[in-house]
């Protein structure tokens, strides 16, 4: 039985360090190549030695696919391609290819320049790595080699995020990467056609959550900001540079536009500016509204959002500032926070999750007095708000995607084991498909039942379909022909042509059968009786009585001779070619029943 093997090197019952190996019909594909946020040692990258201990990875992998630009999906790429060594093709979408190096460079800077690590990939390595990247368009079928083909589907989540279908012959796997089934302010919802893959590898970050409508959250967010600005307060929104930040920008920008507000909005610069540039370029990847209106105005050409300068923080009057990083643990956002924390008119809105130990986490858990460096005590009087804007599919979304794609098997990655367990049970129950959730390094084998396409010559097809009733065209149908396996292809031919093509002489194959009948009469008379009998039964066939006493039914020959020992027993010799096997055997069984007694 053919099989598909899946081994997660990362993201198996875990979030972060996504890296999944898939072997399908003899092809090996690596899906994503991410780093783990939680570790600073060797564990931060997937263990590529699993693939091969020595030798270049190129020999073992046919291609690498990166689903989107988040570091937990692409962070290990330069290490993998340049330091471990891989020269094969790397596939990603155009926006991912554009934004990915910015993030990798940023990651490198923080690790090397700030933390002072050595033995890390260099800027040059990032550049070299990106040279190996092949960019793909949505819904474009890319032939990796003669048999392996991949196709990208829209996934929402972040700009350029894609789901990939990997297909070899009739076997296929769909890898979702991270996706979002509800549209947001700048991206649409994930969509896939009914491609019925053998295996769907889905993320399951929110396996046990069903989320509320996005509108309430948006409305709350806008109302909070609006009220504070109207009071004359300042709003600080700590964000990470890419992804949610753009969504919130659009949200505020359109709100400002709609409500005719005048208070300034600032965005701390740096990598955002570059990224915003790409957002402007890749309009086709955004949602309906932005796509439709960009002719009049590109939504990412912010009218109200300006670049932030350090000095602006002390300006009087209301303002809204987006500042990095998102967890208030360092950098500009923390500086601004310290300046504004003392005024109860101000507000800080945390749009995402904060890791324990960060200032963000402390204030969210209600701490009002913070100890800063140098033993300073900072009293937080400003309002603290939490708004979750996450772009992963929730349990319902995952189920919806499964319903759309109709896979034969589902495999869950990128989530916590306990939550996966619940979703797995649900999937099996609702869709009656088997569901797997391997841990890192654990291999799952899925048996497939691929169909094998066979070419049939038109003449034969028409001839064969003409025979018999034109029953349900969708039902499988039995056909006669010669299966020719030649040059790695299968063809169904009519026997004559097959013989001709193979240069073989035709052999006649005849079956003969003797049937003993108790009949005291003459051979000749017996023959006549048999003839009359058959004539009576087989009305649709041409039954002939030949002058030499033998009978033919179509091409089947029947001869009656007397038994050499017992004259009362007549031997009927029935002979037919293998093509008439059906009729021949029917005749024999008919004759074996004997002749009717009368006449």
């Amino acid at each position: 039985m053919p099989e598909i093997k899946v081994t997660p090197l990362g993201a198996g019952q875990d979030v972060g360090r996504s890296c999944i190996l898939v072997s399908i019909a003899g092809k090996n594909v690596m899906l994503d190549c991410g780093m783990h946020m939680g570790y600073n040692d060797d564990r931060r990258f997937p263990d590529f030695s699993y693939i091969t201990q020595n030798g270049r990875l190129t020999d073992f992998l046919d291609c690498v696919i990166i689903s989107h630009f988040h570091l937990d999906h692409c962070g290990a790429l330069p290490y993998f391609s340049e330091m471990v060594g891989y020269d094969g093709p790397i596939y990603m979408t155009h926006p991912t290819k554009a934004i990915c190096p910015i993030l990798l460079e940023d990651y490198r800077k923080i690790t090397v320049d700030k933390k002072g690590e050595t033995n890390f990939f260099t800027s040059q390595m990032i550049k070299d790595c990106m040279k190996k990247v092949v960019a793909v368009h949505l819904h474009q079928t890319v032939q990796v080699d003669e048999e392996l083909e991949i196709k990208a589907y829209y996934a929402g989540h972040v700009l350029g995020a894609a789901m990939f279908q990997i297909k070899v012959g009739c076997e296929s796997v769909v890898y979702t990467g991270d996706y979002n089934m509800t549209p947001d302010r700048h991206l649409g919802a994930a969509w896939i056609d009914k491609c019925r893959p053998d295996l769907l590898i889905s993320e399951s970050t929110y396996a046990t959550t069903i989320r509320d409508s996005k509108r309430c959250r948006e409305r709350d967010f806008l109302k909070k900001v609006h009220e504070t600005v109207e009071r004359g307060g300042k709003v600080l929104i700590p964000v990470f540079a890419l992804g949610r930040a753009q969504e919130l920008c659009i949200l505020l920008e359109t709100f400002w536009e709609r409500m005719n507000l005048k208070a300034p909005i600032y965005f701390s610069t740096g990598l955002t500016e570059k990224a915003n540039h790409y957002y402007k370029l890749f309009i086709t990847w955004t949602n309906q509204k932005i796509r439709k209106t960009f002719v009049q105005r590109n939504m990412f050409e912010f009218k109200h959002i300006k670049a932030f300068d350090r000095a602006f923080a002390d300006n009087p009057g209301p303002m809204v500032v987006f500042a990095t990083p998102g967890m208030l643990h360092a950098g500009q956002s923390l500086q601004i926070f310290r300046k504004w924390a003392g005024n109860e008119k101000n507000m800080v809105i945390m749009p995402g999750y904060c890791v324990q130990g960060t200032v963000g986490h402390k204030i969210l858990s209600g701490q009002r007095k913070l100890e800063m460096e140098g033993r300073q005590i900072l009293e937080v009087k400003m309002q603290v708000e939490y708004m979750s804007f996450s772009a992963h599919a929730d349990a319902k979304g995952i189920m919806q995607l499964i319903r759309q794609a109709e896979p034969r098997n589902v495999l869950l990655v990128h989530g916590e084991a306990k939550k996966m367990e619940f979703l797995k049970q649900k999937i099996e129950q609702e869709f009656h498909v088997s569901c797997y959730m391997p841990a890192n390094g654990e291999t799952t084998t899925i048996l497939t039942n691929p169909c094998i396409p066979v070419d049939i010559s038109l003449g034969l097809l028409k001839r064969e379909t003409a025979i018999g009733p034109l029953a349900d065209a969708k039902k499988p149908k039995l056909m006669h022909g010669t299966l020719l396996m030649k040059d790695n292809s299968f063809r169904l031919l009519c026997p004559e042509q097959a013989l001709k093509e193979l240069g073989l002489a035709e052999h006649q194959l005849r079956f003969t059968c003797r049937v003993h009948i108790q009949d005291p009469r003459k051979e000749h008379e017996t023959g006549l009786r048999v003839y009359n009998h058959l004539k009576g039964i087989l009305k649709d066939y041409s039954v002939q009585h030949l002058p030499d006493g033998s009978i033919t039914v179509e091409s089947i020959l029947i001869q009656a001779t007397a038994h050499s020992e017992d004259q009362g027993t007549k031997v009927l010799l029935v002979s037919w070619t293998y093509q008439d096997e059906e009729l021949g055997s029917y005749l024999t069984s008919l004759l074996k029943k004997g002749l009717p007694q009368s006449t």
Binding site: D212, S213, C216, A395, Q400
Partner: protein
């Protein structure tokens, strides 16, 4: 009559007779008709190659064919059909056959047999499909002939086994369109075929080609549309099709399921994999809800739309559509809506969101959670969150329809609708506001909901704000805080967008009159009165203060205790506002104050309000003026006109009527004045100066009559007669004046004839109304008609003059509802001092934003006129899409006007105004008269005479400062 008239006129002047001959020449054309088929025959015979023949056929198809020659043409085509070997030519012939059988007045049963015969030997699938299409056309042309239909259906059934999808498609279409519906006709034949029609179509639900599957479903729907009752057994088949791979199949299947659910709402269907059973409509509702999360947005739109019309669904299922069980980490979570509601009912104020305020509470039983319900769960939650705005709009519409029929559902869907006020697409926001307005009878807004609703008041789009004002007009608010909140927000809106003034006042008017008891406790605060101290008198011109007063006065109307809280200046302000903004301030019965309205009130009948009575009284007076001397008549008319105009300003609901009658009286006044002129007695050479007045009067009357006819909506035929009558009088006046001032008779002949023709057409158009016009100008004129026709122009003029003087003044009956079309240009405001600069020779776009009221068919009639300082005028027809319809009788024009001019040295002002175009051909009178008379009169009169096109300016001109700069070299 007209012909007769003409003849008499022509008898004397033989010059003109030639025209008559020219008219006759049109009839010659008929002789050429039969040659058509022959020409085709020759052409086709000449054709050497199939391409040639195709060319001939294509040319032939461009020209229409007369009914008489259709059959001949068909025969020739068929003849060539059998000879032709090329499939493309046969295809064209087949399509031509279909086209020809569509010819009006041609009965295609004679060619049916031939058409069926052609099917027999045809091998090409495309031609077959086309032939079937032709048969379909033939079949639809013969609806009264069941045996023909039977035959065609049989033919179609025979070809259903064809291997090409196109042929099967057409067959199904044919069966769907022609399959027998009536029962009892041709009993035995029906039992064979008609009964099977549904089964035959149903069998193709499983066809291998999705196009054929779609066609099968469509054919089934077609049967339903034609009145055939579909069998319930189809339901289960249709349900299977919902899971089809192809979107068009699914989309059609959704429709079919909807149709079945409407046909058999109460039948019981089993739920698969359980023993339970539910109503079919509920099951179908669930299934369609499921399709709201389909992969294809076309299907989603379709499903969402259909949900709205499934009103028989049980409330239990309906309410599920808004339910989406939230959970987080397997623990039950409350939705933001539920939290808001709880917060509200517990009476607490929000303490500001804490992290984890929405933390999940109870554990969820993992077994019980159903992630992908087959039922209706959350369908609308999904639909309203959809990626495509088309789906969202459809969902909002569906919500609206369902909520209108179920108050409890309306209450539930409120939160979701309020959420939609924040959608990113304006259309969706607008739609949801309108929806909310429509269901507002069923709901009362909670304070927190009102808060979100009011937040939208700051929207920069005028459409949205106005829609919201409309919504607030009919909203029920539960608390006095709510009213206060609404007022505060509306005032905020007023300061931000001063142009919204009227709309906000109107909104407060309704808010006040709906909630008098809630306003009462707010009065001292709103008027900032103090029990001991006198507070300063607010500024009467402040729009915000007026807004507050409008709210209070309207509340006071049904709350007699309220005026006691007013201070002195409030009463004064009331008197002022009652006068200046009478449409917003209702009459109040104030204690100790003698106001005009309160003095009159005792002796009026409860039904008729005094102003209406006044209108009728003054008209009554005018109609009896016969006994007065000429001077008195003029004065009386002048005063009445003044009164009416004033009344129109005061009483907005009577404005149309008052203006209409005032215009009419004005016409009469002008006519009287013109006839009173001394010029009629003076010798000819002295007219010159004086006639200016009379001819100007005639001209003005003409203009006014066009205004009366086309600017008012609700004008009935009774009024149209009188308007036309007035116009006729004006024309007579014109004729008299010209007769007096011009020398020689030559030009008079034409004018006289024209006038007589007009009298004639008037008589024909309004023959039924003539009895009501005793003693009028036209009545007398018609009596004198035989004399007029024979007399010479000079005599005609003399007769006209005396008739005009003697004729009585006609009563103008008033219709129930009469509204004058008005337009108000909002943008450009005309206040800008900054000229709009552009390079000469290039264009500049000027945004024009205007509101139109009571304009019928604005797309066809409203034009924008731009007047340049050099007297050049430009007329712009706005696109139909530029008109929006925010409410009944109201339209809004938002368009761009392109300006261009050669270079100027200085900036200068151009004028922009709106015009109402009219065409007297399309007058209300002519649409009313029967078709036959109309066509007759068309023959008699050249159209140019009857159809006078013109425009009426109906908005104040707005000046725009522009400056075309010379192009830089």
């Amino acid at each position: 009559m007209a012909a007769h008239l003409k003849k008499r006129v022509y008898e004397e002047f033989t010059k003109v007779v030639q025209q008559q001959h020219e008219d006759l020449s049109t009839k010659k054309l008929r002789l050429t008709k039969p040659s058509k088929s022959a020409a085709l025959h020759v052409d086709l015979c000449k054709a050497t190659s199939p391409a040639d023949a195709l060319q001939y056929l294509l040319q032939f198809a461009r020209k229409p064919v007369e009914v008489e020659s259709v059959e001949g043409v068909v025969r020739i085509l068929l003849e060539h059909y059998y000879k032709e070997n090329d499939a493309s030519v046969r295809l064209k012939i087949a399509s031509l056959l279909g086209l020809l059988s569509k010819t009006a007045g041609f009965s295609p049963d004679c060619i049916m047999d031939d058409a069926i015969n052609t099917l027999q030997n045809e091998k090409s699938h495309q031609v077959l499909a086309q032939l079937l299409d032709t048969l379909l056309v033939i079949g639809t042309k013969l609806p009264e002939n069941p045996s023909v239909r039977m035959r065609l259906v049989e033919v179609a059934c025979k070809h259903l086994t064809d291997s090409s999808h196109g042929v099967r498609n057409k067959c199904l279409q044919l069966i769907g369109c022609l399959g027998l519906v009536e029962k009892g006709v041709a009993k035995e034949a029906e039992s064979q075929a008609a009964k099977d029609v549904q089964k035959i179509i149903g069998d193709h639900f499983n066809d291998q080609d999705p196009r054929v599957r779609t066609a099968a479903i469509k054919a089934m729907l077609q049967l339903h549309e034609r009145g055939l009752k579909l069998q319930q057994a189809i339901y289960s088949q249709a349900c299977k099709l919902l899971a089809d791979d192809y979107e068009q199949v699914r989309s059609a299947a959704v429709q079919l399921i909807w149709v079945l659910s409407q046909l058999y709402p109460e039948s019981i269907v089993p739920i698969p994999s359980s023993n339970e059973e539910i109503r079919l409509v509920d099951d179908a509702f669930g299934k369609i809800c499921h399709m709201v999360s389909d992969g294809s947005w076309v299907v989603r739109v379709q499903a969402a739309k259909l949900l709205g019309s499934m009103q028989q669904v049980s409330s239990h299922f309906l309410e599920q559509t808004l339910d989406k069980k939230l959970m987080s980490d397997l623990r039950r979570k409350r939705t933001a809506h539920e939290r808001a509601k709880e917060l509200y009912s517990s009476g607490e104020f929000s303490s500001g969101r804490k992290w984890g305020d929405d933390a999940p509470k109870e554990e969820v039983d993992t077994g019980a959670v159903n992630l992908i319900e087959s039922g209706a769960c959350g369908a609308f939650v999904h639909g309203l969150e959809d990626e495509m705005y088309e789906v969202r709009i459809a969902a909002v519409e569906a919500l609206c329809m369902l909520a209108q029929s179920s108050p409890s559902f309306a209450e539930k869907c409120l939160d979701f609708l309020v959420d939609m006020f924040n959608d990113e697409i304006e259309e969706v926001r607008l739609q949801s506001i309108h929806t909310m307005r429509k269901i507002s009878n069923n709901i009362t807004l909670r304070e927190d909901q009102l808060d979100t609703v009011l937040a939208v008041l700051e929207d920069s789009s005028r459409d949205i704000r106005e829609a919201l004002h409309e919504l607030l007009c009919c909203t029920n608010v539960s608390t006095k805080e709510g009213i206060h909140l609404a007022l505060v927000e509306l005032l905020k809106n007023l300061t931000k967008y001063p142009t919204d003034r009227e709309s906000i006042w109107k909104c407060l008017k309704f808010l006040g009159s709906r909630h008098p008891t809630l306003v009462l406790p707010l009065v001292p605060e709103l008027l900032s009165t103090h029990p001991f101290f006198d507070t300063p008198e607010p500024d009467m011109d402040d729009p915000a203060y007026i807004a507050v007063l409008v709210l209070i006065f309207n509340a006071a109307k049904s709350c007699p205790t309220m005026p006691a809280l007013f201070s002195d200046h409030t009463f004064r302000h009331y008197a002022y506002l009652r006068d200046s903004l009478s449409h917003l301030v209702p009459p109040l019965r104030l204690p100790g104050r003698k106001l005009v309205s309160s003095t009159v009130s005792p002796n009026i009948t409860p039904h008729e309000d005094p102003s209406q009575q006044f209108l009728h009284q003054s008209l009554e007076r005018v109609y009896n003026f016969q006994h007065l001397d000429p001077q008195g008549i003029q004065e009386l008319l002048e005063f009445t006109i003044r009164d009416l105009q004033r009344l129109g300003e005061l009483q907005s609901e009577l404005a149309g009527m008052a203006d209409f009658t005032a215009t009419y009286l004005q016409c009469q006044l002008l006519l009287i004045k013109a006839l009173q002129e001394k010029l009629w007695n003076v010798a000819a050479p002295l007219y010159l100066k004086q006639n200016a007045l009379a001819s100007a009067a005639a001209k003005q009357i003409l203009e006014e009559t066009y205004k009366m006819e086309f600017m008012y909506s609700g004008v009935e035929s009774r009024q149209v007669v009188i308007i036309h009558h007035m116009r006729l009088q004006a024309k007579a006046l014109q004729l008299i004046v010209t007769a007096r001032t011009t020398r020689g008779v030559e030009p008079l002949f034409g004018m006289c004839e024209k006038f007589l023709q007009e009298v004639d057409s008037f008589q024909r158009c309004f023959i039924s109304e003539l009895p009501h016009m005793q003693g009028s100008f036209v009545d007398k004129l018609l009596d004198l008609m035989p004399r007029l026709v024979t007399s010479k122009p000079a005599e005609v003029v003399k007769i006209l003059q005396t008739t005009l003087r003697q004729s009585t003044f006609l009563h103008l009956p008033l219709p129930e509802q009469l509204h004058r079309a008005t337009a108000n240009i909002i943008e450009p405001t005309g206040e800008s001092d900054n000229p709009l600069r552009f390079t000469s020779g290039l264009v500049v776009a000027l945004d024009v934003d205007a509101t139109l009221e009571h304009v019928q068919d604005p797309q066809g009639t409203v034009k924008v006129q731009v007047l340049y300082p050099d007297g050049q005028a430009q007329l712009i027809h706005p696109k139909p899409a530029d008109f929006r319809n925010p409410g009944p009788g109201r339209h809004r024009l938002i368009t761009q006007v392109y300006l261009s001019h050669t270079a100027w040295t200085e900036p200068c002002q151009i004028e922009v105004r709106l015009l109402l175009a009219y065409n007297s051909n399309k007058s209300k009178a002519s649409t009313r008269i029967p078709k036959s008379t109309w066509s007759e009169s068309l023959e008699a009169l050249p159209p140019s005479e009857n159809g006078i096109e013109g425009t009426i300016p109906f908005s104040k001109p707005v000046k725009v400062y522009i400056m075309p700069k010379p192009a830089r070299r």
